[in-house]
Symmetry: C2
Subunit: 285 residues, 2 copies
Amino acid sequence: MEILRTVEELRKWSRKARRRAGAHASNAVGLVPTMGALHAGHASLIRAAVQSCSHAAVSIFVNPTQFGPSEDYERYPRTFVADCELAAAGGAEAVFAPSVEEIYPEGAATFVDVKGLSNRLDGASRPGHFRGVATVVTKLLVAAESDKAFFGQKDAAQVAVLRRMVRDLRLGTEVVVCPIVREADGLALSSRNAYLSKEERKQALTLSRAVRRVEALVKHGERRAEVLIAAARVTFAVEPAVRVDYIELVDWATLAPVETAAPGALFAVAAFLGETRLIDNTILG
Amino acid sequence: MEILRTVEELRKWSRKARRRAGAHASNAVGLVPTMGALHAGHASLIRAAVQSCSHAAVSIFVNPTQFGPSEDYERYPRTFVADCELAAAGGAEAVFAPSVEEIYPEGAATFVDVKGLSNRLDGASRPGHFRGVATVVTKLLVAAESDKAFFGQKDAAQVAVLRRMVRDLRLGTEVVVCPIVREADGLALSSRNAYLSKEERKQALTLSRAVRRVEALVKHGERRAEVLIAAARVTFAVEPAVRVDYIELVDWATLAPVETAAPGALFAVAAFLGETRLIDNTILG
C-alpha cells in the first residue's frame, strides 16, 4: 500500500488507477475520506469502496477548519500506524495523509459554503463546522478525481451537506452512504468514544436507546414529530448526566424540520457526556 | 470542433484528451473560460491555450451569479455562432456551452468564497461578484480537469481571486494570464464595449489614457501611490461624463492598497460611461 503525502501524488495515483481500470470503467477510483482513528465503521466504508471500485484510497486528515476554537482538534485521537494497517487489511491501495500546510497553503482564504444546510443540526451547534467539512472534502474529492466517495450514515447531517455540495459543484463523484456500525450494546462507533470514562460509556447508550425508541414507535405507526421527539426526550430525561444538544426530525435532503415522519426522514440526536459530544440517528422507514 | 452541453460530456472530453496526450504529458488539457461575445482578447487566450496544451477547449457561459440584481445579465451580448467560429478558427477542439440549469442544478446552495480578496476593487463595487466568479470557475476547472486555464489581465482583480482560489482548493490547474489586447487607439477590448454610443466610445479612452499616464510617471521614477492616483484623477477630471468607480494601486496578489508602486504592483481603474462599466489596468514594471 502506498502512502501519499501531497495532492499531486494523490492526483497522479488516481490518474494511474484510472488508466489501469481502462478508459470505459465507470467506477475506477473510490475514496474514503476520514480523520483517522479508524474503527470498524471506517472498515465498512473501505470494504464498500474496494468492492465497488477498481481502486480505492483512504484519506487520513484531521481537518482543523471543521473544529471550533474550544473543540477537540488538538486532542483528537491520532493512530496513524494502526490506521494504515486497517486500510491495507481492507484492501485500500493508497493512504493519502497530507500535512495541514499541504491542504491549507499559507494565506489560504478560500472556503466552500453550502447555504442553509450548513446551519442546521450539527451546523447549528458548531458554527463553521460544515464550512470546514465542505471545504476539505472539496479539496479531497477534486484531488482524488474519484468516481465514488464513501461516508458513514452516522454523520447524517454531513452526508446531506456533502450530497448537496457534490451535486452543486458538479464534482463527478457519487456520494455513497454506508450504514451505522454499532457496538454489541448499540453504541454507534465513533473515534470520540475513546474519550469516554467507564461511567460515560454506560451513559452514552442513551443516544442509541432514544434512536431505537423512535424506530419502535414509527414501526407501530406513530409519525408525529412532536410525539417522537417527546419520547426521545423522556429517554434522555432518565439519564440527567447526558446533556442533550439536539433532538430533531428533519427532511434528510434539506435538514429542515418536518411535522411528520415520512419515509426517508432523518431522526437525529446529539448529546454531551462531559466534554465529549456524540451523535446518533436513524433514517425512518 | 465539438459542442459539449453537459459537465459529464466535458469531463469525458478531457479524459479522452488526456489519454490521447499520453500518460506523462503535463500540459494535456487547456481551458479558456469565457462568457462568450468573444473578441480578439479571447482569441489571444485561445491561441495561448492551443500553443501550450495538447488539447484546448473554450467554455461559453454567461454566469448569472456574478451579476448583481441591477446589472446587465439579461442584455449581456450573446453571439454563440460567431463565438464558435472564432474558437474553431483559433484551434479549440471543443466548446463547452452548458445551460444555467446544468451549472446550477435546482436548489443549488453551494458557493466558493475567497475571503478578503473578494471584497476588493470590483468586488467592493459589485458585492457578490467574485463569489459568483469563484463558484463558476471552480465548477468549470473541476469538470475540465484542466492543466492550464487562461484568463485575460484586463480582469486583473479576477485573476488575483482565481489564483488564490486555485492554489487554496488545490485544483491542479495553472492560471495563465495573457496581456490586455487593445484597439489601435488604446481602448482595452471588452465584450461590454458593444454597449457604448459613439460619444461614449470616445470618452472611454479616458481609462487607457489614465493607465498610460501612470505608466509614464512610473517610467520616470515616480512610485508614490498618492501621486500616481492623483495624476489618474486629473486625467478623468477632464472628461466629467466618465464617472470613476475606483482608481487603485494595490498588491496584485492580495489586492490590498500599497503606498509605493513596487515592481509587480497593479494599477487599476473602473469607470462608468452611462450605464456601461469598463475597467482597465497595468502591472507596473
